[in-house]
Symmetry: C2
Subunit: 563 residues, 2 copies
């Protein structure tokens, strides 16, 4: 008798959506499909007059959901054991904070003819930074009147987040703001769509989105109070009533798959769909996050995620994007940190400056790998897209120091990789300082998978083993894990997230070990990095930087001499 | 009756030698020829294991002298008035400090078979920085024991200069040092060669080389005393006796053209050859330098030269490479400053990083010209080859700040141009602070001639008119001016340098005027440049740099908004 049961995970990224059907017993993929977004530049709609704008049309989500899931089901059909009837649950993750304005029925305004072509009526993609001014103002107000709100989100409210974007919309496109009955995160919209609960009153919102991006916490009654939101604008205090009271972890079902969507996707109606969450958080779950295990998802940007038991009691870590109850694993504080640009910086160098493509990435990686730490005399700050953790400041920019008339593009490429590693170490140190020891680091994401040089440098800079997630689609696997959890053991899934993770996740045999010599040099370089970091990133910091260039030259000379 | 008289100027550059025959009445060129050096990379011999090494074989000078002068004489022959008999004097300029070891007869050791292939036995080209350690030690010793020596050369003795190089040779190649009877500057060797005075005892040395590079001054008895040189190494104190007692301005003849060289060059034997000097100093003379007139020679690096009357009495300007009696014009203090890399930085960006050639220089210049000051949000320090003035520190390196994921290569190209302009302003301010007002700036050199964008940015950054030297071969013209001066009025030349300059130099009609809007923005940017300059370049300087990135973003936003 065939006992196999399957779970579906759907991962909505910045440029595409990926559906994965996994075997619930071991997490192995039996069918997967990717749908690329169609509008704008790989799904991202921009404003030529404002480089901070990044939007997405929700039609991408409807189209992508159907195409990717049908594709995954079809692909799984190659496995004789598989049958769509045996899919017991669904999990959904998306980018975020990616809020969109919706009408009273929960329908995105972007679908209305009168808002066609209006960028403000679309989904405001996570990487949209147009609300920098509003974010600064929210931070200032919260510092003065509600410091507790900031304690959970690292001390600074970001331009990437929910209320910054809504307020900016009010300021630049009041007609859109006024037409919006409510605003919903992408990760709330899709489970609601599948379960027929898109009306704002019936929708179950994600605590991951709410806690990390909207200053939600049960202990102060949910979202920020209306007095506070009224300081932003009285209309935002009014909007609060049409947002939500409660938010949920993903072990809670958003509802059951409707007949309509079951038909579209080729699945069984009535199976549970988990409350959604952000891609990085599910990626961490799919990569085996737990207490003492940090998961790094390394792609165009990075997300660093771990959890801390409530017993340990660390609810605030300065400069860390968020510490939210239940946002990653139910029963634990989820801790989220990250770097605003990692792969994006390497791509900028290769594409925009060197005018190359994938081949050049490979060539520069090969040349960079032949260099020793410190040999180039270069040092960079990884701030080309601001600094998310630990400075939480979008108004920071890149810095490169140490270049001579002989500096090569491969040397700079390596210096940029090293800069992101130093940024990663800064985050790790901060998490350990407040959240306790990190005993294991598991990496996933495109760069972790594809660039051994980056992983080796990360090992050498941090002095830690860099492990790799067994699944190379950790986000979608994390979604499938929650699909199995909302199904429950009785339906062939699991009753707890820990049980599901134990069965369905693991690490690869490949692992990067720190090299002691490199580690030593990077120790010296990190001291210099940290001084630049503090001098340019921390207000009121004052220190003589005169020796920085000299020390870099000294290290360079020593490395060359000892050849 | 044909009254025309001519003067020959020969300008020995880093990669080639140029001979120019000019009409003594107005400085117009009647014949010119260039000879490219043959050895190494365009005449520069390097050491793959040490990027600081830059040497040149003196055979280049022999070959180049003959080829270029014969070529110029031949070219002048196209003018019916011309006859080689009517060439009344010769002037020679070279790069420097470019010393070479010679034997008792004055013959370069490089010509000896036993030193063939020995880099240390060659001429040590001006841009050789291998003696950085020795330079620092000389500076330290002079600071402690002979501060007056440093007062004249900007407070720091450079790795590019005479004694640093000789001492480094002693340290790394004692067999060469021991075999050397004396050391001569290239600018002393060539006039001596032409006049049969190469024996160290008979050679007339240039006060320009002696005063700017070898701590020579009449008031303390010529070269540094032997007690001081003995602190470097007792053998250098011994060498002092085989160097020279006196040095001369270029209105003094080195001697008369020998029969042998007259034959080789196709000129009349017995005409006077002026004491040599450095290319930049002659360039200044050829461009019309005088009190209140600053000449900027802008090429791969720059040289900024002006003069001050002794009545004004400014013999020391901190951080300025040299203030030397008679080194530019007889009877005035010559003031020399400069930037270690200007065109070299633009070339580095285009060639090494962007992998382009002359076409790309043009394309980037065009794109950069379309940008407004401040629009890129970038700021750079022009230290890729260290800082000559006002910091006099070879152990400084480049810095670029403000880059985002959208920063383009043209924006960086412009930021590098602006960085060199800010460096130029820093020099100008220092000269005015100590040496009195600069009323006129005359530019010459390849970049001044060819890149209007650079000149416009220099005008906007400094707030001064940028004029261009009428002659586009100002160095060779300067040499010819001294050829006319040593000939004297009786032979058809001039009795004073001022008379010769008045007749033979001038400026072009084209002139770059500062644009008030650009000037205002650059005023703001310069404040930020100066803070980076001081934080990274001045020991003990301590200041918070936190606001630098923010201010750049603020300026950028304002420029974009006011579009």
């Amino acid at each position: 008798m065939n006992e196999k049961r399957y779970s579906l995970g759907v991962d909505f990224g910045t440029n595409s959506v990926r559906a994965v059907i996994v075997d619930v017993s071991d997490g192995e993929t039996v069918g997967a499909a990717v749908h690329e977004y169609q509008r704008g530049e790989q799904g991202v709609l921009t404003d030529p007059s404002n480089p901070h704008v990044a939007r997405q049309h929700p039609a991408e989500y409807h189209e992508g959901l159907e195409a990717s899931v049908r594709g995954a089901v079809e692909a799984a059909g190659a496995d004789a054991d598989f049958s769509a009837e045996r899919v017991v649950g669904i999990g959904i993750d998306t980018t975020g904070s990616t809020p969109m304005p919706v009408d009273e029925e929960g329908r995105p305004l972007a679908f209305r003819a009168d808002f066609e072509g209006n960028l403000e009526a679309l989904a405001w993609l996570w990487k949209d930074h147009s609300a920098m001014g509003e974010a600064e103002r929210i931070t200032d107000l919260a510092q003065e009147y509600r410091p507790e709100y900031l304690g959970r989100c690292g001390g600074t409210y970001s331009s990437e987040w929910f209320f910054s974007k809504i307020w900016h919309c009010l300021n630049v496109a009041p007609e859109v703001f006024d037409a919006a009955y409510s605003w919903v995160e992408c990760c709330d919209y899709i489970p609601a769509l599948l379960t027929g609960t898109i009306r704002p009153e019936t929708m179950r919102r994600s605590v991951c989105a709410a806690g990390h991006k909207a200053m939600y916490a049960e202990e102060w009654g949910g979202l920020p109070d209306s007095d506070f939101l009224g300081m932003l604008d009285p209309r935002i205090a009014v909007l609060r009533e049409r947002l939500y009271e409660r938010a949920y972890s993903s072990n809670v079902p958003a509802g059951k798959l409707t007949e309509e969507w079951a038909g579209k996707l080729g699945l069984r109606a009535g199976i549970p769909v988990a409350v959604g969450a952000f891609d990085a958080h599910y990626g961490a779950v799919g990569a085996g996050v737990g207490e003492g295990t940090l998961v790094k998802i390394i792609g165009t940007s990075t997300c660093d995620i771990t959890v801390a038991s409530k017993a340990r009691g660390t609810a605030e870590i300065p400069g860390v994007c968020g510490v939210v109850d239940g946002s990653v694993l139910p029963g634990y504080y989820g801790i989220e940190a990250g770097q605003s640009a990692v792969g994006d910086i390497f791509n900028w160098w290769v594409t925009e400056i060197c005018k190359g493509g994938g081949d050049l990435h490979e060539a520069l990686t090969e040349q960079a790998a032949a260099l020793k730490p410190g040999e180039s005399g270069l040092l960079a700050l990884d701030w080309n897209n601001g600094n998310r953790t630990v400075l939480v400041d979008a108004r920071l920019t890149g810095l490169l120091i140490g270049q001579t008339l002989h500096t090569t593009r491969a040397e700079i490429y390596r210096a940029l990789i090293e800069a992101t590693a130093f940024g990663a170490l800064t985050i790790l140190n901060r998490i350990e300082e407040y959240g306790g020891p990190v005993e294991q680091i598991v990496n996933c994401g495109g760069i972790a998978e594809k660039n051994p040089l980056v992983m080796q440098i990360y090992a050498d800079v941090t002095g830690r083993r860099m492990e790799l997630s067994r699944s190379d689609q950790a986000c979608a696997l994390g979604a499938a894990i929650f699909g199995a959890v909302v199904a429950g053991e009785a339906a062939g899934g699991y009753d707890t997230t820990e049980q599901a993770q134990r069965a369905m996740t693991g690490t690869k045999d490949t692992c990067y070990q720190p090299d002691p010599d490199s580690q030593k040099t990077y120790g010296e370089l990190y001291k210099l990095y940290k001084r630049l970091h503090d001098s340019f990133g921390v207000a009121e910091h004052s220190e003589c930087l005169y020796d920085v260039m000299k020390r870099l030259l000294g290290i360079k000379q020593r490395i060359v001499d000892t050849g």
